[in-house]
């Protein structure tokens, strides 16, 4: 009895703010601050309309999609190569390499924002797509590598031995045997990377200058109203910002949880 109540209360706590926000996003401006209501009496899509007309919200969406997709593609590919080498090949300095890559997860991003800004400015990459993809790649890489190393290691080594004896060199083994079998792990990693890129804020804030390249989180945070905070539009934008992530979760929740907890439990 008690566990069930606790669980339900907990889930309500998690769900309530989203529900209220979604509700508010379809509440006409005039009724927004009337006080908390559970069920709306009037519905209006005005906020969503304004979002895509006056605020051109499709721009940040486009930017986020491009940056997240490119980063994910690069990250999973390069990360898979790196993880395979660490998991299966013999070379000296393996521990150092893995340690270095993992150390980056513990970096406070703020510590390198300004040098990175200067570096990107030197390279002419401020306010460009590559200017975001590069830092994102670096910071998404450790998690990717760690997850994939764990994943590759638990694939039966005998399959790779068999492929080697059958005449496949290391690269062919990777392509013909390992990667197809690692597809679930690769998928989980891709999803987690995409979510990271979609949500990233600090670098996007620091390295973009205007609406042409701003990503979704930055665009939302910088919404300004003429007289007051435009809550209707902010919340509508929030719902829109959450939608792709929510869809990914709905489709892949099992994979995501496996990915999240993989390294942690098995150790």
């Amino acid at each position: 009895m008690i566990p069930r109540m606790v669980a339900i209360l907990g889930l309500l706590f998690l769900a309530a703010p989203i529900y209220l926000a979604a509700l508010a996003s379809v509440t006409p401006e005039s009724r927004l601050f009337e006080g908390p209501v559970l069920f709306p009496s009037a519905l209006s899509l005005e906020h969503y309309r304004d979002l895509f007309t006056a605020r051109a919200f499709w721009q940040p969406i486009r930017n986020s999609l491009i940056v997240a997709s490119v980063t994910t593609g690069l990250c999973v590919t390069l990360g898979a190569f790196c993880a395979y080498a660490i998991a299966r090949l013999h070379f000296r300095g393996k521990r150092l390499v893995l340690g270095t890559i993992l150390a980056v997860t513990m970096f406070p991003q703020i510590s390198i924002v300004s040098p990175l800004y200067l570096l990107l400015r030197q390279l002419g990459l401020i306010n460009t797509y590559p200017g975001l993809v590069l830092p994102y790649l670096t910071f998404a890489m450790p998690l990717t590598v760690w997850l994939l190393v764990g994943y590759f290691r638990q694939l039966p080594a005998e399959l790779e031995d068999a492929a080697r004896l059958d005449g496949a060199g290391p690269i062919r083994t990777l392509g013909e045997v390992v990667l197809p079998l690692a597809a679930p792990g690769l998928a989980a990693t891709a999803i987690l990377t995409f979510i990271y890129c979609w949500n990233e804020f600090l670098f996007a804030l620091a390295f973009t200058l205007g609406p042409e390249r701003r990503t979704v989180p930055v665009a939302i945070a910088l919404f300004r109203g003429q007289y007051q905070v435009p809550w209707g539009e902010i919340l509508a934008a929030s719902i829109v910002a959450t939608a792709p992530v929510a869809i990914l979760i709905l489709l892949f929740q099992r994979r995501i949880v496996q990915g999240m907890t993989a390294g942690a439990i098995k150790g």
């Binding site: 395979y84 090949l89 270095t100 790649l137 890489m141 929030s238 942690a264």
Partner: protein, 280 residues
């Protein structure tokens, strides 16, 4: 012969990933350290970038706002992480026993974790901004901040611990029950010890993340009212990208790095060594 060819291939495969890490993370870090020993004010370029030794650090040591920011950060981390672990554990235990429909529950639980932090911040700001004026109160402004953080990250802790709970063999509980252990004793002697690895992982990840908090507070209170809710990363951000004092800001950034990374190393050394390695 074979071994050398294999090693060469390995380095080839690692190079891009390692390269990006070195260029984008390590090199700027070295640069920040270097900058922290120089004067570099972008608003006063005529001053050049002279070496000033530890002057920036001396200024940092005397900077009241910096110490306040550090205090905010550590306090926030302590409170948030404690709440998240407790709540996460509670929910994990409850879900483990109570609810059968895993899929929909996981989906629901994951959404707060998966949405952008600034969106979460804005949601909670909306919930508090209208009905109350807490956001204008230096002490009470922390409440929506902590709530938002707990709301957003408890799912991660909960799912982690739930997965950990699911790996505990049921027969251990059965054996304990036959030996006469009460629910509480079962919890203390079976659940907690076996959950220890997962708890430690949750603790490490959450502490490191909490110390680095930026997005949440930027969007919720902007560090306000005044500097009442300013964490150290936001302070560094302001110094760097608003005051444009790159030298001093770098010193602060280095301090943040030392604190965070130092703590991380400490964790890894004492607790996580087994978690990082698994030599075949």
């Amino acid at each position: 012969m074979q071994a050398r060819g294999e090693a060469r291939l390995a380095w080839l495969l690692i190079a891009p990933a390692l390269g990006s890490v070195v260029v984008i993370a390590l090199f700027p870090l070295a640069w920040a350290i270097r900058e922290s020993f120089h004067l570099h004010d972008l608003r006063a370029p005529w001053l050049g970038q002279p070496w000033i030794g530890l002057a920036n650090y001396a200024e940092a040591a005397a900077d009241a706002r910096l110490w306040l920011a550090l205090a905010h950060t550590v306090g926030f981390a302590a409170v948030s992480v404690a709440l998240e672990l407790a709540l996460g554990l509670l929910l994990a235990l409850a879900l483990h026993r109570a609810i059968a429909a895993r899929g929909p529950v996981r989906t629901l639980a994951l959404i707060p974790w998966a949405l952008p932090t600034v969106v979460a911040a804005l949601l909670w700001r909306f919930l508090f901004d209208g009905p109350t004026d807490w956001l204008a109160d230096p002490l009470r402004a922390w409440i929506p901040i902590v709530l938002a953080d707990v709301w957003k990250t408890t799912p991660f802790v909960m799912l982690l611990l739930l997965a950990g709970l699911q790996t505990i063999d049921e027969s251990l509980y059965e054996a304990a029950r036959i030996d006469g252990a009460s629910d509480w004793q079962q919890f203390c002697h079976v659940t907690l010890p076996l959950l220890r690895p997962a708890l430690l992982v949750a603790l490490i990840f959450r502490t490191l993340d909490a110390l680095r908090v930026f997005d949440l507070i930027y969007a919720l209170t902007g560090g306000g009212p005044g500097t009442a809710t300013e964490p150290i990363s936001l302070y560094a951000f302001n110094v760097l990208l608003q005051n444009l004092r790159f030298g001093y800001g770098s010193a602060i950034a280095v301090i943040v790095f030392l604190v965070t990374f130092g703590l991380a190393l400490l964790y890894v050394r004492t607790v996580g060594a087994g978690l990082l390695e698994e030599e075949s």
